[in-house]
């Protein structure tokens, strides 16, 4: 029994020290009946799996950690670049990632008004019209990285302006206060 446990621990350590890259050759992603991403490796069927972006901002399509859905959400492997997969797999996985990392893209700033320490945004996004509030006092509600702006509202939702240079002068003026 003791020997088994030691063996198990060794396996764990070994697993910890290696990255199991999932490629089109060794992994088979499929759509479950419910429309989620399932994974088969060889004869083992992991069923519905969890997909985590390890670099959600800097490399959203690279190094995607594929994990078991429940329990300790143990990592099965990592997709080093989703672009290397067939377009149908790309579409299937990106659809699930989009649910997990729901971040509407702001296409138009209709208005931003400031009241009682909060900024109230009224915007058009690729997911429809929406309103949200950011804390005007807290730092980090609006962060800019080159031309990309991420806005975090008081409920911890995130919104994205892909390219601020594409905003009109009027919209930029409204946004300017928060940048």
């Amino acid at each position: 029994m003791e020997k088994d446990i030691l063996e198990l621990e060794n396996q764990k350590v070994q697993k910890q020290l290696t990255i199991n890259y999932l490629t089109e050759q060794n992994a088979q992603f499929y759509e479950t009946k419910g429309g989620f991403v399932g994974l088969k490796i060889g004869n083992e069927d992991y069923g519905h799996v969890n997909l985590i972006r390890t670099f959600p901002f800097s490399a959203p399509w690279e190094f995607i950690s594929v994990r078991r859905l429940d329990g300790k959400q143990e990592e099965i492997g990592i997709i080093d670049n989703l672009n290397n997969f067939d377009s149908s797999v790309f579409e299937l996985i990106s659809k699930q990632l989009e649910i997990r990392y729901f971040m509407p893209k702001i296409t138009k700033i209709i208005s931003i008004s400031e009241e009682y320490g909060h900024a109230y945004w009224n915007v058009l996004t690729d997911k429809g019209k929406c309103s949200f509030a950011t804390s005007a006092g807290a730092s980090g509600a609006v962060t800019k990285n080159e031309d990309r702006v991420i806005i975090k509202d008081t409920d911890e939702n995130r919104f994205e302006i892909e390219d601020v240079t594409k905003l009109t002068a009027k919209e930029l003026k409204k946004l300017d206060l928060f940048l």
Binding site: M1, E2, I5, L6, L8, E9, T32, K33, G34, G35, F36, H48, P56, G71, K72, E98, I99, R100, Y101, F102, M103, P104, E114, E115, Y116, G117, H118, Y120, T125, K127, G128, K129, C130, S131, F132, A133, S135, A136, G137, A138, S139, D153, T154, D155, E156, N157, R158, D176, L177
Partner: protein, 730 residues
Amino acid sequence: MELNLPLDSKKLNKLKEVCSDTPIYCFPVDLTKGGLFTTDSFVGATKSGIFLFENEELNYHPFDKIEKIINRVQTNGTLITVKINGEEYPFARCSMRYASGVASVVRGANLLLKGEVERRIQNNDKEKHCPKCGRILRGTAVCPKCNKTGGNLKRFFDICRENKLMLMVIIFFMLLDTAVGVSKEYILRIFVDNHLATGTGTVGDVLVFFAIYFGVILIGLVIYFCKAYFSGKLGVNVVYKLRKKLSVKLQELSLSNIDSRNTGELVERIMGDTTRVSDFLNRSFAHSFNQVFYFITLITIMLIMNWKLALISFSFVPFMVIFTKTFWPKIHRIFSNLRRKMDVIQNKLQDVLSGIRIVKTYGKEKTEIEQFRSANENYAETNYKNEKFFAIFYPIVSLVFSFGTYFIIYAGGLNVLQGQMTPGELMQFVAYTSMLLGPIHSMTFLPRDIINMSTSLERIYDVLGEKPKVLQRENAISREITGDVQFKDVVFGYSSHEPVLDGVTLDVKAGEMIGLVGSSGAGKSTLINLVMRLYDVDEGSICIDGVDIRDYNTESYHSQIGVVLQETFLFAGSVLQNIRFSNPNATMSEIIMAAKVANAHDFICRLPDGYNTYVGEKGHSLSGGEKQRIAIARAILNNPKILILDEATSALDTESEYLVQQALERLRHNRTTFAIAHRLSTLRCADRIAVVDDHKIAEIGSHNELLKKKGIYYNLVMAQLQMNKTADKS
């Protein structure tokens, strides 16, 4: 948070058509299954199934076809799925705005699914948005807009009301100042008209005028001094009271309130914003409001003297008002922006100073300098832009205002030539027109100062308006506890849609020692945070001696708990003050006894000033183990009924650990002890060991019982044994 919001009659009828039940839970969702924003959509449960209204479209699943309803928390939202025949299907989606309520609805629906129709789930989270207008509720139940009592100027007037007497004194001196200021020009007019213009004046007349004028100036100075003195005093009083309120509030607020803000931001609110309010009172208020009195007095006198000339000089006022109004929003924006950038610098500095050891160890000084330089440059650049704006703005304001004087000299000169006005009167009028510029000019500064002050007041009241999340009930009990601790179906999460503890039930007898083991993040520390009542449970209850922990007076309860945490914090002060922190009335011998028990006495004796050695940030540096032993002494000094040890001996060397363990073993008699330890040998004296895994207590029992069980604990023990063996071999 209300979990059963009413559906409109159309939806309700539609629901009744498919299941003939009314909703038990009903909560809004803001996303369609396809991820588009939607309004008027709801997810909920009746006693026979779950439903989703995407606008008018109803999706209903009867419970008899579902195995489970799952709340899959996503990074930026929530996805509800239903499990049917072992397969998961998406059911509903929402953004983080509704995540907490939806999570509770899912929990409630699962209870209904299991047939527990009587049990209802509650959500203790406060509403974040005003149900009426949707504005953010800042930790309070009252909307700043809808309750009509909001508004920072009202707050400013409240402050004024509290200092009514002082204000009356200041206003009295303001009136005197105005009277003296205006009378100087009148005296000059009489002197010019009666003595100089008539050509009858003598040297004696000049000397008398000189003496009177000088006397008035001296009186003016004394009045100015009194006004400045009392304004200053008012400013100091107000800042003192605001800081006092803020510091009391900070202590009142629960940990979850404090966690939501960063330290730099709080320091800036307590120090910076209160100073700005004080500055407004003793500088802007005393000066600018004085100018308002001047303004009213001057225009009254000017209208009486020559209403036509007066109207000429006033005709420029509307331009100035329009000018100021146009720039008002810009001024507001400039100051908010500058304040925000200052916050960034302060946070950065705080961060670097706290982590200076790490910065130096990794040789990252240059990177840090660069980052600070960039934040500083950003601030400087904004400040430079602002100064440039004001440098252009104010001269233009002055220029626009000077037009009035030029026109008065021209029109008034004509009046003197036509004999409608004396030269003295013209001098007085020109002087008053120029004096009028002062108040109007000052009044253009006033909006900036008011906005600056109200922005600061807003930030101060943002903290003051927050309500502690751990509240003390009315008629809370203060009594000595024996130490029975009972967890009943405890559910808790730092954010309520993601439980860290989910259904924990544990019965601990007074005097029992419970060892808590499990992997990092399993919920061990959370469990003891709840025993310490740093947070309140979301569901279920924790009872101490059979009484709900929430019914105890927090101060009385906390005074009966001793805590030693993994990360020891010592306050800036002496060793004596740090040990005495838990019991300020402890005698010297009790303190030495506590230190001896904690195996700290010997090393304290070796310190240069013994128990009076100054420790803390700038004091004598102690090793991690030494700090921990002081913390242990502090914990046992107040003879706690519940002792909490969170990796308390992890920083000690083997010998010290053994000694402290022995001491703690003796101490734990007659007190309930919760001990978290990764080194399982530390828990050998525990009566029972609880294995926390996957948000629950997975195993509980004595060391031997758990070993026999051959479960998680057995594996942990074996793994540690093997590890030790491997270490011994190498």
